[in-house]
């Protein structure tokens, strides 16, 4: 069927579908007079339209429930765990299922933990293996032991550990009405286990009574190192732990998203001790759906809380007032909200417990308790709210980018301005003005301006500037507030130094509300002069930046910038506003660039329209012609040219840009990019090195790894990849790198990158795993040409490595036709070793050589020679 035929069938279908069933055959026949072959197809549609469908009518939640599995619905091959035999499920956590199992030869009981849906996310697999590795490091009578570990044939990891038949610590104490001394003794054993873990470099991070079991013989076992981490600085990836822990037992700094350490475990121990003594949690947090909610209960000292709880649960009478004073001190010292004032180790807490049990004086000294508890509560109350928000939204997304040392070279991030509710005259200003300041600063030599999302970020203005600065690896952050006061727009700005948290600059601009040009003049002027100097820009202001001349045009421009880039209507109205703006005033470069961006969005994400791509280029060229120092526009223009295959034109554009703005890392990076397309590896690497030296922290340079690999510089390549350690792109290139470097054993351990269009990486992994030929062939069939010619080069390399020579040469041809010359890189790329021996190689190689030759000839010629 083609789409024309489908359109006809569909049209008849709609015409007839709501008519009485008896009339339909006649109506269909009449409507299909000229082509009776349509009749059965329409009738089949009508039949299905009227009947329920067991798949298509299912709700997605139900469907996913079936496919992704419900608890316990996992089927396991009973032979797979030998010599263990599964008996019954014991429980299920966030990560895995735990089964009771029996060792067939010895008859003893063990617990087997199996990772559920191992394929679902490599992060979960990693955490599971971390737990296993962690347990393997620990041997302590109070820690459940690891016996064995293995992997199912489908790759699902599992491990065997000690089966602990017992009750959670708090339940045990209630069930046995344990006196205080017994509770302290049990708790002391937990502290010993935690201290052992710390001594072996392991932070538990999720200490709570349900992870501590008491066996019938009264011995204690600490379980569930599922989110434990090593103290030593192993790279931790971007995994966020905040939402995994249990908030009621988490330290305040942990709730704030700061890293867990010895002190956070000590805090959790304090909460557990409190609960053991007082019979409830310190802050009266009922647990609803796994997340605590603040109830407004007032926390008190454990002694008072214990009395309030009445005689039934905590055995208050068994402790004397002086013993209670010590217990209050023990508890509140462990739980101090200032980590520096807690016990500095589990061992120190353990020592004071020993002192208590022996009737000696404690080492810890109480703070002024009322003061401490009150202060504690106020802060804690707020923090708990924050914890609830974290649970609602999941991980603090800011932590996708881990803390990193800051660059010494000045780099600034401009945040969207804060605002009070503004009327329609000014509602677009918070985002638009931040963009304007960014543009103005972007013209400052020697200052790197970090890109910030332009719009659509809810609550963007609420973020902490210092945190934003850390996340974006900036040395300073500009933030501020815009308000309309009567007939005046008032903009208050400040710049904060990220390292010190101190304000380094502040200013206020007030202009009449109806005068956008005055607003621009005032803001851009201050940004270029006093602000740039305060941010540490080495010298001088930008010279040739354009400025808006027409108030209505500029107003439209600002509105379009504030409007975001939603595909569809909002982008169309943005385009309309900007087209009017450039018609009224064709001399303001940022308006042309904004228009180009919107054309590009529309072309790429909506219509695929080549006319729009053409307009993208011409609009960008206008911006560059008006302001040749405008780096963002220059880079974008080069990008458009490369996308059109005009490598030499892009090269000329970029060499001019570099000559004008040698301080701009972006200009150097883009030059490296076009050189890479031309196969000029050494030149490309030089430009990459320059970009990196000018801005050592820009994740955008990551693709320089491609150029580094091309000269077998694997360390260099890894350095570039490390700029963007958490992306799928980096993961893909990391895999490629290992294979290229011949480290196939390591490569085999990796998971495929999750970008669905990168099928060749899945193929590569299948070949690494020596999968059956049929599977490899099927995977290879899914590797189709990409719109990015460089991706085609990589796919060709992967096919080549798998021995699929014809397919490899075909994709290599695609890459070259897309002006990714690939020559002479292909001659030295180890992945192409087998392909180079094939018959068709010489021809493809010649095409690559011609691609490079054309580029070299064009760049040697005067610029006009390359005009379209």
């Amino acid at each position: 069927m083609d789409s024309g035929r489908w359109a006809r069938i569909e049209s008849v279908f709609h015409e007839v579908a709501d008519r009485p069933a008896a009339d339909r055959p006649g109506l269909v026949a009449a409507a299909c007079q000229d082509d009776p072959t349509l009749i059965p197809q329409v009738m089949a549609l009508l039949e299905q339209d009227g009947s329920p469908h067991r798949l298509l009518d299912r709700a997605v939640g139900d469907l996913a429930g079936t496919l992704l599995g419900n608890p316990g619905s996992h089927r396991f091959d009973p032979e797979a765990f030998r010599p263990y035999r599964l008996k019954s499920p014991l429980g299920e956590g966030g990560m895995g299922i735990v089964f009771l199992a029996e060792r067939e030869d010895l008859g003893n009981l063990v617990a087997i933990k199996i990772l559920r849906d191992a394929w679902l996310s490599p992060g979960r697999r990693q955490r599971f293996l971390t737990e296993q590795k962690t347990l393997a490091r620990l041997t302590h009578p109070n820690i459940a032991r690891l016996y064995d570990a293995d992997t199912l044939p489908d790759g699902t990891p599992w491990f065997v550990m000690e089966y602990v038949d017992g009750l959670p610590l708090t339940e045990h104490c209630v069930a046995t009405s344990a006196p205080v001394a017994e509770r302290i003794r049990l708790f002391r054993a937990v502290v010993a286990a935690v201290d052992h873990a710390h001594a072996h470099g392991v932070i538990h991070r999720d200490l709570k009574p349900s992870n501590i079991l008491v066996k019938s013989d009264g011995s204690v076992r600490l379980l569930d190192f599922g989110i434990a981490k090593a103290v030593d600085p192993e790279p931790e990836g971007h995994r966020t732990t905040a939402p995994l822990m249990t908030p009621a037992y988490a330290a305040p700094e942990q709730l704030r998203g700061e890293p867990a350490g010895v002190a956070t475990d000590v805090y959790s121990l304090g909460v557990i001790l409190y609960e053991l003594l007082a019979g409830r949690l310190p802050f009266g947090l009922p647990r609803v759906g796994g997340a605590p909610i603040p109830t407004g209960h007032v926390a008190t000292r454990p002694s008072v809380a214990a009395k309030e709880a009445g005689p039934v649960r905590p055995p208050v009478s068994t402790a004397s007032p002086s013993a209670w004073a010590d217990l209050d001190t023990l508890c509140l010292t462990a739980m101090h909200d200032d980590p520096d004032r807690r016990y500095q180790s589990a061992a120190a807490l353990g020592r004071d417990l020993d002192h208590f049990l022996a009737g000696r004086a404690l080492e810890a000294r109480p703070d002024s308790l009322p003061y401490q508890v009150g202060r504690f509560l106020n802060r804690r109350g707020r923090l708990l709210l924050a914890a609830v928000v974290l649970f609602t939204l999941g991980a603090a997304a800011a932590r996708l980018i881990g803390p990193t040392p800051l660059a010494a070279a000045p780099a600034v991030t401009v945040m969207p301005l804060r605002t009070e509710p503004l009327d329609s005259i000014a509602a677009h200003l918070p985002v638009a003005l931040a963009e304007e300041i960014t543009t103005a600063l972007g013209g400052t030599p020697g200052l790197t301006v970090r890109p910030v999302a332009p719009a659509g970020r809810p609550g963007a203005g609420e973020a902490d500037p210092v945190q934003v600065g850390r996340d974006t690896r900036a040395t300073s952050v500009v933030s501020g507030r815009v308000r309309r006061i009567g007939g005046t727009i008032r903009v208050e700005l400040e710049a904060v130094d990220v390292a010190t948290g101190k304000r380094v600059w502040a200013d206020v601009v007030e202009v009449p509300a109806g005068d956008p040009i005055a607003l621009h003049t005032a803001l851009a002027g201050r940004a270029r002069l006093s602000l740039a100097a305060a941010l540490g820009a080495p010298a001088g202001a930008a010279t040739s930046a354009t400025r808006p001349r027409h108030p209505d045009a500029y107003d439209r421009y600002l509105r379009s910038v504030g409007a975001g880039y939603d595909p569809g209507a909002s982008n169309d109205s943005g385009i309309a506003m900007l087209e009017q703006a450039v018609a009224l005033d064709s001399t303001y470069a940022p308006a042309w660039l904004a228009l180009a961006r919107r054309y590009y969005m529309k072309a790429r994400f909506e219509t695929g329209d080549s006319v729009l791509l053409e307009r993208t280029l011409t609009s960008t060229q206008r911006a560059v012609a008006l302001d040749p120092d405008y780096v963002v526009a220059g880079a974008r223009m080069a990008g458009s040219l490369i996308e059109r295959g005009q490598l030499a034109a892009a090269y000329q554009q970029l060499t001019q840009l570099v000559a004008r703005r040698p301080d701009s890392p972006d200009a150097h990076f883009w030059l490296s990019y076009v050189l890479r397309f031309a196969g000029l590896t050494e030149e490309s690497n030089r430009e990459c090195a320059t970009a990196l030296s000018l801005d050592p922290h820009n994740f955008g340079w990551r693709s320089c790894a491609v150029a580094a690999m091309a000269r077998d510089d694997y360390d260099g390549a890894r350095g570039y990849l490390a700029l963007d350690p958490r992306s799928e792109w980096t993961k893909a290139l990391g895999l490629h790198l290992l294979v290229r470097a011949g480290r196939v054993d390591e490569a085999r351990q990796l998971d495929p990158p999750r970008m669905p269009q990168w099928k060749s990486y899945t193929l590569l992994l299948a070949c690494l795993a020596n999968r059956p030929q049929a599977e490899v062939t099927a995977l290879a069939a899914a590797v189709v040409p990409d719109s990015d010619p460089e991706a085609n080069y990589f796919a060709a390399a992967h096919l080549a490595w798998c021995g699929l020579t014809d397919a490899s040469l075909s994709l290599l041809g695609h890459a070259i036709r897309g002006n990714y010359c690939s020559f002479p890189v292909m001659d030295a790329d180890p992945l192409f070793a087998r392909t180079r021996a094939a018959k068709g190689y010489a021809e493809v190689r010649e095409a690559g050589r011609a691609c490079q030759r054309d580029f070299l000839a064009a760049r040697a010629a005067p610029p006009s020679a390359d005009a379209e």
Binding site: V60, P71, S73, P153, P567, G568, E643
Partner: protein
């Protein structure tokens, strides 16, 4: 699209995908009390992503389209795994769950649907997108209309025709 231009999009997609996988598995683990609808999932994932300053192409609508695609990928991948597991093992299986009927036939049906949807995309791309939004992402008619930039009446029409067409295709398939 060259890589540098697509970089933002790739990051965007991979984050969306990762989040949705996590969210989908959380909801579907049987935590019915969470009452999370797919729309809630997508909105929450969006809020998280929106707070991540890495994303320059950040419009909510754009994200939702990507999210719908990601939902489809998660489900189809899950189906593929289930199907492969079923084929790969001729052994007697031990199970702790007797609710397996649905699990038997669904994976194959979902894979067939995914294939049929690819065919539909060639005939009528918008109808295929409509199915992606309505069926795989669980969006309702107004949400789908907003996402695809068409009227609700068009969504209803497209869905009805596409549903019937797919039902015919799936019927033929097996």
């Amino acid at each position: 699209m060259t890589m540098e231009n697509r970089q933002e999009l790739d990051d965007f997609y991979s984050l969306a995908y990762q989040e949705l996988r996590r969210l989908a598995s959380a909801v579907l683990r049987g935590d019915r009390a969470s009452t999370l609808s797919p729309t809630t999932l997508v909105n929450e994932a969006w809020l998280k992503l929106a707070a991540s300053r890495r994303l320059a192409v950040n419009s909510q609508l754009h994200f939702k389209r990507i999210a719908a695609r990601a939902m489809r990928q998660v489900l189809v991948e899950a189906a593929r795994r289930r199907q492969a597991a079923k084929r790969g093992s001729g052994l007697a299986l031990v199970t702790f769950d007797d609710d397996l009927d649905a699990a038997e036939s669904t994976p194959a049906a979902v894979l067939a649907l995914d294939g049929a949807l690819a065919d539909l995309a060639k005939l009528h791309p918008r109808q295929a997108e409509t199915v992606e939004c309505r069926f795989f992402a669980g969006l309702n008619v107004p949400e789908t209309a907003e996402l695809l930039g068409v009227s609700e009446a068009t969504v209803q029409r497209d869905w009805r025709a596409a549903r019937a067409w797919l039902a015919v295709e799936l019927h033929h398939a097996g």
